[in-house]
Every structure is written in C-alpha cells, then in structure tokens.
Amino acid sequence: MQKVYIYKKFERFWHWCQAALIFFLALTGFEIHDSFHLFGFEKAVAFHRSASYLLLGLIAFSIFWHFTTGEWKQYIPTFSKLQAQIRYYTIGMFKGEPHPTIKSVRKKLNPLQAVVYLGFKLVMAPMVILSGLLYMYYKSFDVNDMVVALNIPLEWIAVIHTLGAFLLISFVVVHVYMTTTGHTITTNIKAMITGWEELEDAEDITEEGKIKKSQS
C-alpha cells in the first residue's frame, strides 16, 4: 500500500462545487416542479437560475481543465473488464474477492465508473443543460422590448429537463453509495476531500518519482 496524491486541487474543487450545485438545483428544481414547498415558487425560480449560471461557469472551467490536463482520457470507456467489475459489485465483493481493476493516477476510474461518468458527461448533463437553457430563454425580449417565445412547445422542453433531473438524482443516490465500497467505507470520500488515497502497489505506476516527491 502506498499513499498517492490522486485528486488534484482543481478536481476536488470542481467535484464538490458541482455536487453542491446539483444538490441545490435539484432542491429548487423539484420545488418548481411542485414536488414540495420550501423557499416559495418565486425564490425557488430565482435561486434555480442563479445556481444554473454558476454551474455553467464551473462546467466551462472543468471542460478547459479536462482538455488541458488530458484528464478527459480517464473517461474513455474500456469494455474488457466491465463485466468483471459488474460481477465484483454484485457477487465478488460478498465473497471477499479482490477488486478486478487497480486504481492509479493514470487510471482513476474503473471501467464501470468510466462508462457511467461518460454517460453523465455526454447524456445527463447535456440533457439538463441544453433543455435548461432552452427553458431559461424560452421567452426573451426583441429589439422592441416585446416578448418573443420559442416555437417549440414548452412541455417538450420541460419533460426533457424533468427526465434529466430524475436521472441525475438517481445517479447521485447510487454514486454516493458506491463511495462506501472502497477499501474502507470512508476511503473514497476522504480521498476526494484530501486528494490522498492509499492505493495498492502496482507496477504500472510510472510516475513514481512524482509520487515520492509529493509524499515527502
């Protein structure tokens, strides 16, 4: 076992801000959906809008970060060990079998994570963001200060946005739970907070020098 600096500062900042924003957006969003009453409709709408702008900004930064650091490659799905990973979560872990994949700085995500997070980035997030933007700008003002509306029925936009929201909150439930399946229950969460995680030694950790440096 070796202590490795696996989640960098920006990554952690981005992760927790996004988590907080998604939680807050779900809270205000489902109030707008009339699922419960908390802030009142007017405030819920205002908060939902402000939070959505923050999320858009954050996502812009994270996209930049992913591409400049090459971290986007983490999300390239590999299907070779996908089945093994699913087997591990459903059967293997009860039998005390070891993780079928090894976590490293180069390979932070197991095949199941990679494919699910890719789904998050390519399906769920665009779904709520694009429908949300259409929702937000469904009506705007033209040069004569008159209100102009999109030609798409609002219901379609709203339905897609709601569906995306349901997908997201279900993702959050499973995601939060899955963090407890690490070495110990809190290993993964601690890692996402501090950046450091005890990883099993593996030959393919090539940047050993770097790791040692950060440990010292």
Binding site: R49, F94, V147, T162, L163
Partner: protein, 527 residues
C-alpha cells in the same frame, strides 16, 4: 499569528460580501415614479365658462343649452354623432356575418335583457334627449346631451324613465356655467349603475371608486393618485379610448395598461416575460367587487311571484335585492375571484334574431385560445342566469318590460310574459310562436379596474401550483409547477426510489455478509 490575521480578514470579507449579496433594498422603479409625477399634476381649465354671456341667459329646454354649446364648439356635434355613446352601435367586421353594426340597439344581455321597446327607461343612459322608441333621429345634433358628460357642478341628473331628458329640478344655467373635463361622477352616473343599480353589471366599476383607498383601486384612490376616468380613457374627437366587450367586438381603439406602463414595467424581467401571454389585469386584479357586491346571477325564470297580488322584494343582510317580482332571483357577491379566459380582443355577440346554438347561450363570446399568438389570459366576470326564449323558433326573446302604466303589455306592470314577448318581438319584426320558456345564458365581462396595490397582487403560487390554481381550468399549454407529464414523473420516481431501495438492499447484503465473515473468522480462530 499571521495566519490568524489573514483568516480573520478573509472571514470578514466573506461576511461583508455575503451581507451585500443577500441584502437588497427595494430599488426605485423609475418609469413608475415618472408616471406618478406626471399624474400628480391635475389639469386645470383654460377658460371659465361662467363668464360667457351666452351661458347667462335663461335656458328653457336642455336643447337650448346644447345650441349654446355649439355656438362656440361648432364642430363638436359632428364628432358626437359619430360616437358609440350616441349611436349605441359600432360598425365592425364580424366573423360569419361580415360588416355589421353591433351595439345596444341589437345585442342582448342577461341583466335587463335589452333596450328595445324599453327606450323610455333605458335612454336614461343615452347621451341624447328624447329617445322614446327606435324612431329616434340620430342625425339631429340638437338632441345631443353635452351636460351629462361635462357638468362639473354635480347638479345634473337625468330623469327616471324620461327618455334621456334631465330631471325637472335641474338648473341649466348652473350646469352650463360649470362645464369642463368629465369627472368620475359624470362617467359613473351611467357606468356605475348599469343593470339597474350600483355595481350590478361590471363588478369593478361602482360608486365606491368615487372615494376609495389604495386597497380598492391604486389609480383612483383618494390617498393615492386620485386619477379620473378620463386620465386613462382619453379621447380624440370624442372617440373615447377603451372597449367594453358586452357591446364591442373588435380589437381596435382599446385602452391597455401598457399605454402608460410600457410592455416591460417590472424590474424583474422574469415577470416582464409573462407579458406575452398574461394580461396585466390577471395578476394585478386578484379580486373585484371589493367594496360593494356585484350580481353574479340573475334568474328571470323566478320572476312574477306576487304577494297578495302585488309585486314584492327580498333583501340580503347588506341590503342587496335577492328577489324582485319584476326581475327574478339574484345572487350577489363581494371580493370575487375572477374566472380566467384566453382573449384576443375580439368578441362575438348574440344578435337579436340569431338561432341558439349552445346551452348555456353565450350572449357575448370572448375569442381567443392558447395557440393564438394574439391571445392573453384575462380575468373575467362571468354573469350567469336564465332568460326568456322561444322554444319553437329557438331564438332569445326581447320582451317589453317597461311601460309607465298597466295595459301596455309591459312585464314590469302586467306580469304576463306572453304579452311582453309578443309586444317585444313584434317591434323587432321577428316571429313569436306564442310559446316561451327560459334558457340558461352566460355573459363575459373582462375585469379591468380595481387594480390592487403591489403587495396584494397574485403570488406565483396562485397559478404555479399542481392543485386548485387560478388557471386550473385552462389547458392546451404548459405552466411550470401546474403541469407535469405523468409518465415521466412515474418513471422518474420509480427510478429514484428504485435506486434508493437497490442501494439499501446492497448495503444490507454487505452488512450481513460482513457479520457472517466475522463469525467464520472467529470460528477458525477458536478451532
């Protein structure tokens, strides 16, 4: 030590930023402020009519006053005789009927039904003298009543059932010398009392507006801007802005809130965006009939009950008639929540002689729908009742109601529907089968007055709510908070709760598994 200082600076800055972000003083709505300044200055007359010698002479007849007016204002009568206040009709294009004339002359209502054959009484609200029948000469400008609108002495009143002539007690000289811009009393003398009493018809126009506070009407309030009717209902060549859809049918010369308030009046653009589909009145007039009650229903079918051979009436605790032998049974209400309808400024009317094609009969029909880009949601007073019709010819009947004495077929003195129907229909030149019955009717009155103060306007939740919202009855469009797709919601809920359940089962399995493993391990140790 340094760290402590840096941390305390950071915390202080964060607290200050937080306070600044969360604390908002109400910003000044500058366009609103400008309007208030504009209407705070009241117009004054540029001339004093009491100084004119022509108005000093003794007037014998009201027509003499009119001629005196026209001696200076020598083109005004031409404007008047082209106005709907005078003609009681307007030329309009009506879908299915082509170019036609619509007005009090040929449409009905479900209050006192119609003016035909009853002109002697109804003409109390005609701006002319001597309209006793449908033979009135609408080209004779001598009979224009200038005083009813321009009297500023509050002396002038029209006589009861005198065909539009003033009451005999009126001092014409005093009135003629006082004339000026119409006041609320002038307009209100007809528009407050239409339907036979205060606030009967409109619900949002009544005598309480002459002296009210901001809670009743922000524009006309004595403790507010104290605006007059004609401040908004301006006129060009005596063509007054504004439409009443009991008698109007086209979207022209309307008076709109945005004429003063612009199409973007709120500081919050989210509210401004409602402008394309929601009329200002919808949020800003949460209730009408705020001071005195208005009639919500009128059942003519109950009329005619006599007590010892004589007509009688009953009243509710507030003194409103709940029953009148001559008119039937009424329902009165105060602080009424309006009903809401899509409306594009065009209306259709039941014109005397039209076949009945739906029950309840829509005496006037506000046109518009969710998919029509010119439609907005308006608050409407819906007046429901029943009234006399001919079941053979399937036509609403114009009965003769008023006559000064018995024996002239008038229902209000003879109490015989058959005679009243026959006399009324004969005058209209329409057949009457000899059979009559009563049929349910509805009338739609868009609510425009009694604008509430800002803090009493509708809150978002009044419409954006799943259950019992104000707009619950309107469909064909999506309101966030009110509407949802049941399938998506079902799927979403199953997925969310399914995830939670799945996670719990998985966690339980792990927990049981770990206990069993411990047991195995401890057994191994004991062995």
């Amino acid at each position: 030590m340094n760290k402590v200082i840096i941390y305390s600076i950071v915390v202080t800055v964060l607290v200050l930023v937080g306070i600044n972000l969360l604390h908002k003083t109400e910003p000044l709505n500058f366009s609103q402020y400008e309007l208030k300044q504009k209407y705070a200055t009241k117009p004054t007359s540029s001339v004093d009519h009491s100084k004119f010698t022509i108005l000093q002479k003794q007037f014998k007849t009201p027509q003499d006053v009119t001629l005196a007016c026209l001696s200076c204002h020598n083109k005004r009568h031409e404007e008047i005789i082209h106005s709907s206040h005078w003609n009681w009709e307007r030329v309009a294009y009506v879908e299915g009927k082509g170019i036609s004339k619509i007005g009090k002359k040929n449409v009905l209502n479900n209050f006192c039904i119609g003016s035909n054959t009853n002109e002697q009484a109804c003409a109390k609200c005609h701006i002319g003298f001597g309209m006793t029948s449908n033979k009135f000469d609408f080209n004779n400008a001598k009979n224009v009543d200038c005083m009813v609108c321009h009297d500023n002495s509050e002396e002038y009143i029209k006589g009861a059932a005198m065909a539009g002539y003033p009451d005999r007690k009126v001092n014409f000289n005093k009135v003629a010398q006082s004339v000026g811009r119409p006041t609320n009393v002038n307009c209100g003398s007809c528009h407050f009392y239409s339907g036979g009493g205060n606030n009967v018809k409109h619900g949002d126009l009544e005598e309480a507006l002459l002296a009210c506070d901001r809670n009743t009407d922000v524009h006309m309030a004595q403790n507010g801007l104290s605006m007059t009717c004609v401040d908004c209902h301006t006129a060009n060549k005596h063509q007054i802005k504004g439409k009443l859809y009991s008698v109007s049918s086209t979207d022209v010369n309307r008076l709109n809130c945005e004429d003063c308030h612009s199409s973007r009046p709120h500081l919050d653009d989210l509210l401004n965006r409602h402008y394309s589909k929601i009329a200002c009145q919808t949020c800003h007039i949460p209730t009408y009939a705020k001071a005195n009650a208005t009639k919500m229903s009128w059942k003519w079918s109950k009329a005619g009950k006599l007590l010892k051979g004589k007509p009688y009436h009953t009243e509710d605790s507030l003194g409103n008639h709940t029953y009148l032998s001559i008119k039937g049974e009424f329902d009165w209400q105060t602080n009424v929540k309006p009903e809401y309808l899509w409306f594009n400024g065009n209306a259709q009317h039941y014109v005397i002689g039209d076949k009945i094609d739906s029950v309840p009969v829509q005496i006037n029909k506000l046109l518009g729908s969710a998919v029509d880009r010119y439609s907005k949601i308006y608050p409407v007073k819906v007046h429901r009742g029943d009234q006399i019709y001919d079941p053979e010819t399937n036509v609403l009947i114009q009965p003769k109601l008023y006559a000064p004495e018995k024996g002239d077929s008038a229902y209000w003195v003879d109490f015989d529907w058959n005679l009243a129907a026959e006399a009324g229909m004969k005058r209209m030149g329409l057949p009457y089968s000899g059979k009559h019955d009563f049929i349910e009717t509805e009338m739609y009155w868009p609510v425009n007055h009694m604008v509430a103060p800002k803090d009493q306007t509708l809150s978002c939740e009044e419409c954006h709510t799943r259950e019992n919202g104000r707009l619950a009855s309107l469909d064909g469009f999506y309101i966030p908070g009110r509407d949802n797709n049941n399938w998506i919601d079902l799927f979403g809920k199953l997925m969310f709760w399914g995830s939670i359940l799945g996670v719990l089962i998985h966690a339980l399995a792990r927990f049981i598994n770990s206990i069993r493993k411990n047991e195995v391990e401890s057994e191994e140790i004991s062995i």
